[in-house]
Amino acid sequence: MWLFPLGGQRGTSLEVEIRGKGLQSAYAVVAEEEGIRTEFRTVEEIVEESEEGPEKKKEKKEPEYRVRVGVKIDAAARPGNHWLRVVTPRGISDRVQFRVNADRVIRESADPHDRPGRAQAIDVPVVVNGQIDKAAEMDFYQVEVAGGQELLFEVTRSQESAANVFRSQISIHAHRGSWFDPDRVVRLAFSDKDRGERVIADRDPRQRTGTRVSLRHRFAEAGRYFVEVGSLGGQAKAGFVYQLRVAPPDQPSHETPGLRDWSERSFVRKLTGDRLEQLWSRGVRDDRPALEKKPEGGQDGEGSKEPDPAQLDLKLSDPAIALDVHSEKEPGDRLEDAVEIPVPSIVEGVVQHPGDSDLFKFKVHAGQKLAFEVETPQATRPDFNPLLQIIDSRGRDQFSSLRRTEKYRSVTAVHLVSVDAKVIGAFEKGGDYYLRVRDVTLRKGDPGFHYRVLVRPQIPHVGDIHLETRTRDFEDGRVDPHRVNLLAGEAVKLTLILEQEEGFFLPSNQIAVSVEGLPAGVEALPGASSYRLPGGPRPPVIKGADHHLPKVQTISVVLHSREDAAPTHLPVWITVTARPIVGGRLGPRLTVKKIPLTILDPNPARKLSQLASRPAGGER
């Protein structure tokens, strides 16, 4: 399912066309977030002419439908990615991306603009909604620039087209001419690099790759230049939709992310000053006075040389403690040059050039457990892959953020698995230790390779929580965490995959799950689970897994609808929450996800007849 145009400017209205399968008899389109209002208009089957005639075509393929919907974007709508869903008698659809822009938005010309000589002229700043749906198609736009002017070109493809292997690319051309061809244009710059980390959010393949390609270019000479938007290998098909934004680099797009899931190990999560508070908010802070917890016969009395690690961790984990920020000092690649830092603190630096490494010195006590988290605020993976190495005062490796498999003698074996954004470890002996930060390769380094590392005590907490449910067979059959279409009288299962971090996984600790906002006639019940992770090769045996991986448990909840539950016309939004319990003390509610739920009449014919008597349209 995809839509075109991909977005619009806030404070404007436009008509959007949503295409996809299983949309017959659609009667409403809903937005997930405030700021966007929809007006359902029409739905029709798309009949493509073919050499064999329309009837033959229909026999061969599942039909596709076109839903036209008016979209009104509030002036106060949040610029960035939003999501629309289509409601049909068979329930609520997958979500489809719709973008809201702060900049002026235009649509690509209907006239051919597939070569420099026919390029569509655009004024900067602007966002162009475009589409590449024919093999070998490429769109050319023409910009006039002043000498020395710098522009930022960004192509944002839709999440859906990214999942369909639309790999967009931008080129900038100038008319230069050559001895052979006076009309020759010459490519000045090219980029197909995705901006942003490639992440698997919710294990949804549509989220697997970054969706924005950007290119910043300074034009030495004033004149007319051509911007080409194309795709890898000249591949194109219906649904390859994009937005091209051209603007001065210092002009912000004002985009902000919507509600984001917790991300334990992303390199682009923000390690802000309240990080400790955030972590504690996913666990249960022990507020009892320290004396109550002092173990019997403890060693940390007046005469003791070493404080009790538990006491120390408690003190350090006080969220009131300010996180000082320390910067690297060049050259910082020798132990004696290392910058001394307290624990906890944040260190910042840049891997300036290939082979550049920075060292930071910190003190620990015997038995102390620390966590090291790294963020890449600018350049990130796969270009910049910061490696954290913990070494002792004699330069010996203790542990690192490199994850390895056990030794396996084969030329095709994978010995290194990954470089992680977080590593934890316990220090058997107290004393001085060092944190070394460098790129995992020996070849990469750049002034844009900025890093932030949080050095902190370990905080037991609930990490990432993945929610999955399976749609029924008569729908698209994909794993979709974002919706539940429930037939009256039947049940579906929600499965939560819970990651428990930094010592949370203890017999005395639990995680409770609840579902809130259920409509009448639907209840949430504990469910049995033989859930397995999605297919693929078996994970390798990890060496030193304790430094890298959380403990994982799954919990299933069954949503059961009574037979007499009233079918929903528009979806109901339910909230799945998880709540940590430590030693009998309840922690805060963690919102796992808000998802739409519909209750469906088991008899579609009856449903369809009911619909005929209702007025079309739906807003949220």
Partner: protein, 849 residues
């Protein structure tokens, strides 16, 4: 004068006959031009040259032991500058009597210790050599490697087509050329056979010697055909070889010398002369000296195997005496256990009475012309402007010059116009595009079944950007050999999602950057070269730490080297972990193994082979044949035709910072490159010495682009959901894009390094007749033919335009007249389309000449 072939041109039709007619037309033009070329007298009229000096080779000899011997050569330098072998005419005498004896005409053996001077006399001239004799009464102890191993090598028992093959032959295995005598000894005396992947024996060992009844030993019975032997009769039971082996078995089949001497091996072979020019029916004795690992030198002239590459040019007997038969150039291979060498021979015609001096543009001409003079070959004339322009445009940019530019260039009277156009081309976007195509061939930029599209793109973009900044070739190589992370050069190491195994990788890298083929040393020592299996795996070990980081968070693999991986590469013969070792045998010290591939890259680009390999490749691009050919098969048995030129080019490339543009500029500025393709009587048969331009078939992609250019109908490349915009040049195309034309014309798919150049095929001729590239483009509305026909251009102008577009020259007056007549006699559109078809189907068009 009207020639038969020119008359045929008037009957051009799109039929095979018309195709032949166009080819003939091209040939007739060459012939016509040949008439204009200066004729050179090639027959000898002068007197026989006389020796002006004499020398004795070797000039210093040390004979050690009673079994030592030394052969001498007497070489005379003659007034024509050549050296000739006068050994047969020489008389020898020693300064002291009783110290040596002559076992043959020019071979001595020691009788007693002492020093003496050996004198050779020919035609009143003398030459001397000093001889030191030590240990003349000491018989050399028996040594299995020396006494039995070398015998097996001489008899061919251990070559790669016999028992020296990887699995052996008929259940009996020997190391190639007796490289591993300990293994050979074991396999002969104890039995058993080599297992490639396991140390376990599949069957019980079966000894080849019978100590109780030596004459029943299988090794003797097989070789003498007393029992069936697939290798046939190797020697008779009355031969010295039989006697030597029998005696060895009778003595209990000992291994012989142990300790240090056991490891004494031939480190290199020195041949004298390294190259020689012979008169017709001339003779030359080859002298072969082995440099042993203990520092000694030994005359092995009679213990090696000789083979002439081209026996019609020279022949060689088993003693190393070479005889010339006809003019030409070839090599004689010399093989000893584990080592090989070659001697280059040129056989020249009688000298010219007055050799014309050719102007030299740069050092290339100095080297090329000096050799031509030596061989009595006169270089062709300088190419015409039209010939030069088409050639240099195609060679530097893969693009035909447009008609208006041809007119402009031909009309220009600027004496420096050739250099000016060279600079324009070197700095054109078309140059970058074509160099990308060239690099794509050798660095294997490809797509399709074995490479992900995004990896292909990333790799290609790195190449493009490297070319755009004229990145020095050594830096390009370092980037690619030592690539890490997620970037362009690192993508080369992946096939789909897997890293290419070290052994496959190193063979390719050595072939690309050092132009040596190590492939066979993967399984066994190279049969003819110094490359051993140990060397191969030592080099492979540099790639042994490559791993990819591919985790659940990231789609794109990161290529890194893991220092913790120290046992990845295992020698298939010894089954032991191999340490990284350079091709020269030097093991990388333990303390320097942090970044193996960077060490390897630095070693490769600093090695003399590196620059030589690349300049030779570029030379082949421009001259149509490498100084070493094939270009990626340097070996002692395939020596360069112009070793000094190769060195000079490589040195010039190095001192100019491995600047590829500079290298190309130097080559195309040379007169050698700019020589005409029209031969004269002295160089007609020459294919080795760059005495005239050789026609080079256009690569499939260049040919397709040229047709699109001439017809002004761009090619469309599309397949399913994929495609490239009209106007995309074939040379810039991702190679996986389907194209029937390029398949028929044998494009390089780049899945492996190419083994040779495409050869003409019947399918190509058929495609010319019926393929849409040759037919539809000509009739396309808006194409050049259509445009010309719709214009007010007269028939003569149309003929001119098509000739300029396709052949970059005006038609001759005769051609124009005939073709105008042909057009006037037939429907105009059909006639002009036929003419255009004839031109793009001609050999003149499909070749760069």
């Amino acid at each position: 004068m009207e020639t038969k072939s020119c008359r045929k041109a008037s009957a051009i039709r799109r039929t095979p006959a018309a195709l032949i007619a166009v080819w003939a037309l091209g040939a007739s033009c060459l012939l016509a031009a040949l008439v204009q070329a200066a004729e050179v007298e090639g027959t000898a009229q002068g007197t026989s040259p006389q020796p002006s000096s004499l020398r004795l080779a070797p000039s210093e000899v040390r004979l050690q032991g009673a079994d030592a011997s030394q052969q001498f050569l007497v070489m005379g330098t003659f007034s024509d500058g050549l050296e000739r072998d006068l050994t047969a005419q020489a008389e020898f005498s020693g300064s002291k009597s009783g110290l040596i004896r002559f076992s043959a005409h020019s071979r001595i053996q020691p009788l007693a210790d002492g020093d003496l001077v050996l004198t050779a006399r020919v035609a009143g001239r003398e030459a001397t050599a000093s001889i030191a004799i030590r240990g003349s009464q000491e018989k050399r102890p028996f040594s299995f490697p020396r006494d039995i191993g070398s015998l097996l090598t001489q008899q061919g028992c251990n070559n790669t087509t016999c028992h020296g093959a990887v699995p052996g032959q008929g259940g009996f295995k020997l190391s190639t050329n007796a490289t591993y005598p300990r293994d050979d000894y074991k396999w002969i005396v104890e039995g058993g056979k080599f297992e490639v992947l396991t140390a376990e024996m599949e069957e019980p060992p079966h000894p080849r010697v019978n100590l109780k009844d030596p004459e029943k030993s299988l090794i003797l019975q097989k070789a003498t055909l007393q029992v069936p032997h697939g290798g046939g009769l190797r020697f008779g039971s009355d031969s010295p070889q039989y006697a030597r082996i029998l005696q060895w078995i009778q003595l209990g089949a000992p291994y012989g010398e142990e300790g240090e001497s056991e490891n004494i091996q031939i480190e290199s072979l020195e041949v004298y002369p390294r190259a020689s020019v012979l008169d017709l029916d001339g003779k030359q004795q080859i002298l072969v000296t082995a440099h042993l690992s203990d520092g000694r030198r030994e005359d092995v002239t009679r213990q090696v195997v000789y083979e002439s590459i081209n026996r019609s040019v020279v022949d060689v007997d088993e003693g190393g005496l070479v005889k010339a038969h006809k003019t030409g150039e070839t090599s004689v291979l010399v093989r000893a256990p584990g080592r090989a060498a070659a001697v280059r021979f040129g056989v020249i015609a009688d000298p010219l009475p007055s050799y014309p001096e050719a102007p030299e543009n740069n050092f290339i001409d100095r080297h090329v012309f000096a050799k031509l003079k030596k061989f009595n070959i006169v270089p062709s004339e300088l190419s015409s402007d039209a010939e030069f322009l088409r050639r240099v445009c195609l060679d530097l940019t893969g693009t035909l010059p447009p008609p208006n530019r041809v007119r402009q260039f031909l009309a220009s009277t600027d004496p420096d116009k050739r250099n000016r156009i060279i600079e324009i081309l070197l700095n054109s976007p078309e140059f970058e595009e074509f160099l990308f195509f060239r690099y794509g061939e050798i660095f294997r930029w490809y797509g399709g079944a074995t490479q992900l599209g995004k990896d292909t793109q990333l790799y290609g973009e790195w190449l493009r950007q490297s070319i755009a900044i004229n990145k020095p070739y050594d830096q390009l190589a370092v980037d690619r050999i030592a690539a890490q992370g997620y970037d362009g050069p690192s993508r080369f190491f992946y096939q789909l999602r897997f890293i290419i195994p070290p052994a496959e990788m190193i063979a390719e890298q050595v072939r690309v950057y050092l132009a040596r083929r190590l492939d066979c040393a993967r399984c066994h020592n190279h049969p003819f070269e110094a490359w051993s299996q140990d060397q191969f795996w030592g080099m492979a070990a540099f790639y042994g730490r490559m791993v990819d980081l591919r985790d659940s968070v990231m789609d794109d693999s990161l290529l890194v080297d893991d220092p913790a991986l120290k046992d990845r590469v295992v020698h298939p013969r010894t089954k032991k972990v191999v340490q990284p070792r350079f091709l020269d045998g030097r093991e990388l010290p333990e303390g320097e193994r942090t970044d193996l591939r960077m060490k390897l890259a630095q070693w490769i680009v600093s090695h003399p082979y590196f620059a030589e390999a690349f300049v030779n490749r570029v030379w082949d691009w421009f001259l149509g044949k490498g100084i070493v050919h094939p270009v990626d098969d340097f070996r002692s048995t395939n020596p360069p035709t112009h070793p000094e030129l190769l060195k000079a080019l490589a040195e010039d490339f190095r001192v100019n910072g491995h600047d590829v543009k500079h290298l190309m500029r130097v080559i195309v500025q040379s007169r050698t490159y700019q020589l005409s393709g029209i031969p004269n009587q002295t160089n007609r048969g020459d294919r080795l010495n760059f005495s005239h331009a050789l026609p080079k078939p256009l690569p499939a992609a260049v040919l397709l682009d040229a047709i699109s250019q001439v017809t002004e109908v761009p090619e469309t490349f599309a397949s399913g959901e994929r495609g490239f915009a009209a106007g995309t040049r074939a040379i810039a195309l991702m190679p996986s894009m389907p194209s029937q034309f390029m398949d028929v014309f044998e494009r390089n798919e780049r899945k492996t390094l190419p083994e040779g150049k495409p050869e003409p095929a019947l399918a190509q001729a058929l495609h010319m007749l019926t393929g849409k590239t040759f037919t539809e483009k000509l009739a396309r509305e808006g194409g050049r033919v259509d445009r010309l026909l719709r214009s007010e251009a007269g028939d003569g102008e149309i003929v001119d335009e098509l000739y300029l577009a396709a052949l970059s020259r005006f038609p001759t007056a005769e051609e124009r007249a005939r073709l105008e007549a042909m057009i006037s006699e037939r429907p105009r559109r059909e006639a002009v389309e036929s003419l255009a078809w004839g031109l793009i189907s001609s050999r003149q068009f499909s070749h760069n000449h």
